[in-house]
Symmetry: C2
Subunit: 469 residues, 2 copies
């Protein structure tokens, strides 16, 4: 029987997608016994925005979370999401910081490192992949999926080729915006499995409602691993539910090794936990049809709508909306994901509000056009580049090649507030926020942001009847 391996992402991407990354470690630990027994290939528990949220909002030590999860999940692989040379921060770090970060994550119990770059520039993945392998851990190379004239099947195969040449243990298809259609998924998986023997992972979001179908097609075409989330944290901008895929695959003769009864108990647990964080729920979390129509994530549009509202220019939203694909083309079709979605969106707003395209240009667009984020997927618009940076230098090397070692300097800056190397790395990620955090920790004044009391006003006992025909 063919085996399909499941990674549940409830402890990372699930709550990141649905409750703004706010789940606390205290709500993770009580269910770890069951999670550890359920039969997952791995649990995604760390990285992405969780590190930032721990320090900034929850006032928790993310390293301590990792260590405690490791202890509570002795039999299950722990997995994290790492932004390549950006690690878990928002800039390019020097190689010594990258190596130290990966090394400390591995030492604290991380098994699987999913490593991606927003531009799919593999040079931004190299150091992290090397460090993962040096630590004897599983290095997973990532394809950020998007659509554009240059994002062809061949281009993705070439990208996978490069990742494999760098020695990755597996490849992940990462569809952060829910753009993958079942057909595109099947074609992409087939192209990759025809050529490569490393395990293939699919990570897709339910944003557009197509993800359950994508997962099925992926498995049919030979995808070995699928990311899902326990049903009480599934759907919308999150992921398809674990239980439904497991039952579907079992019925089709695949083995997942997962126990549906245990999954049900896990789901009930998280259903209760989720209530605690009701203040972070989005009012709308049904299908985002904007993605289906324009390939622009609705979340990005609502952020822009807020920007326009503040400027009293909400009536220009459709213009901004038409402008986004043009800016994206000018920038060489970057996938729209942090930070590129912000870079493209903000410039599109400027282009519309000033009345003249690129009359005003953001610093981020300038840095992007100078090559400081890496290589764009397609050539950028040279006219726009000249307008933005004149004759200033453009780099075409790996951005981190221009960065000297910085770990010693960071260690010196934070001084005795850092009790260990992990603290120094926390400081490296978010200097200001982390410094405040470390100071308050030293002072014994750490306070998590408050949670609002439950005030569910739905009428008790009024539920739809079971009369369903």
């Amino acid at each position: 029987m063919a085996k399909v391996h499941i990674t549940d992402v409830v402890l990372r991407d699930g709550h990141q997608s649905l409750i703004a990354t706010r789940m606390r470690t205290e709500d993770m630990l009580p269910i770890c016994g069951k999670l550890d027994k359920a039969g997952y290939w791995s649990l995604e528990v760390w990285g992405g925005a969780t590190f930032d949220a721990c320090v900034r909002f929850l006032r928790e030590d993310p390293w301590e979370r990792l260590a405690r999860l490791r202890e509570a999940l002795p039999n299950t692989r722990l997995q994290m999401l790492l932004r390549g040379q950006n690690l878990l921060g928002y800039r390019h770090y020097s190689d010594d910081v990258v190596r130290a970060f990966v090394n400390r994550a591995a030492a604290n119990g991380m098994d699987v490192f999913r490593i991606f770059d927003a531009l799919n520039d593999v040079r931004n993945l190299r150091t992290a992949i090397e460090a993962t392998k040096a630590a004897g851990k599983h290095a997973q190379g990532t394809i950020c999926y998007t659509t554009s004239p240059v994002h062809t099947l061949d281009a993705y195969v070439k990208l996978a080729d490069e990742l494999i040449a760098m020695g990755v243990d597996s490849i992940a298809i990462k569809d952060m915006a829910g753009l993958l259609t079942p057909k595109a998924t099947g074609d992409l998986v087939k192209a990759l499995k025809d050529r490569f023997s490393v395990p293939l992972f699919l990570h897709s979001h339910s944003t557009s409602g197509m993800a359950p179908m994508c997962q099925l097609k992926a498995v049919e075409e030979g995808c070995d691993h699928v990311d899902t989330v326990i049903s009480s944290f599934s759907g919308g901008t999150s992921h398809p539910p674990t239980e439904s895929l497991v039952a579907s695959l079992h019925a089709a003769g695949y083995e997942t090794g997962l126990d549906l009864k245990l999954l049900q108990e896990i789901s009930h647990y998280f259903r209760e936990v989720r209530k605690k964080y009701h203040q972070f729920e989005s009012e709308y979390n049904d299908v985002d049809s904007q993605v289906l129509i324009s390939q622009v994530p609705g979340g990005m549009m609502s952020n822009l709508a807020n920007q326009l509202k503040e400027q009293g220019a909400l009536d220009r939203i459709q213009d901004v909306f038409n402008e986004i694909p043009r800016v994206r083309a000018d920038l060489g079709f970057p996938p729209l994901v942090t930070p590129t979605s912000q870079i493209v969106g903000t410039q599109a707003v400027l282009n519309v509000l000033t009345g003249k395209r690129y009359e005003s240009i953001t610093n981020e667009v300038k840095r992007y056009l100078q090559g400081w984020y890496g290589q764009a997927p397609a050539p950028v618009n040279e006219k726009v580049r000249t307008q933005a940076i004149g004759s200033e230098e453009v780099i075409d090397c790996r951005p981190a090649d221009l960065l000297g070692d910085e770990l010693d300097k960071l260690r010196e800056q934070i001084g005795s507030l850092a009790l260990n190397e992990e603290d120094v790395l926390t400081y490296a990620m978010f200097p200001e926020v982390a410094k405040t955090y470390l100071q308050e920790r030293a002072d014994g004044t750490l306070q998590p942001e408050p949670l609002l009391p439950k005030n569910d006003t739905r009428a008790d006992g009024v539920v739809p009847t079971a009369f369903k025909v």
Copy 2:
């Protein structure tokens, strides 16, 4: 390009599944212009529980709703769900009532009649199918899907054979509980399409989270028609979203004729409408994993939990739960749908609480075992039957064969409160409720049940970030 036809069920099953069938005609009419232009093959707008809800709760004339929808949707087929010989009520009606009902529905604008029987006893469909064809309308025969030792592929093919022999224009697979797996769907569709040339419709609920995958498999195996619901009324005990399937199919080279931009506008409209009915929302509407584990719908379990609670016996729920499949087997494996889910569930509770199986037997089980609901899918347990009815007569004919004409009697009973034949039929469905309704209409005192004011207490402006990786 292969064509796949879409039926949107938002005006019937969508709101029946999610807001207890409470959507009012006044909230349907404003969007009909767009619905009529979108390109649906049909819109399911009537039947099921809507007729009952109109009279009982909304104090609307269901016939007037139909006439107004017909007028507002001149270019789209209107479709209804009809419970065979039960019509839209809860008992077997005489043939003259069935004929009159179908005739009046057709005259008021109904195009497509989806006709089913809870036991899949085709004799209970015959009169309704004949009446539909006599009215020159589309008669659709229905397979109620369930799982049991006797519900084999062969059995479903045989059922379809019988339906086609009765002259149906098409066949629907109706999965009211979300039991279909993608594999089972593909196999069933293939078996039917290999043998029959009539159009095949798939109606599946998202209860277990497998339905989107089932729809894709169905189309791949040649299913011509799929029921979906506009995304703002999708998911949970409702159906997969229209937009996601349409986009998925377009990407795979199928044509649906639907315009995603219009669908988006329609979805936004219904998103606002849904808020008005917040009091009828279920607190939990994520994946029902109970169905996946036991094939017993969670909605049925929660009804039974309430019954047990009232009797201070909630601790026996697991026993009841284990008893349900045994009672179902004793009764010859009926699909669990109204009314059989209630019949089986209540008897299971009695069997557990009395401490001795079938020491007490409900009247409904007795009538069932006497044959008054039609023929069970498999032979019933004869010991249980003897215990229930002793040597009382068991009928094996079509139940309605034993009913004399009743329309004249009904017309006489309701008298001048009925202003037309439609009123008589309303009275036939729900004698007491309809009589009160017609009396209050005559008195000018009709009042719909009140809607609670909106009191959404979620904190404004707190939404998950767009940072999704």
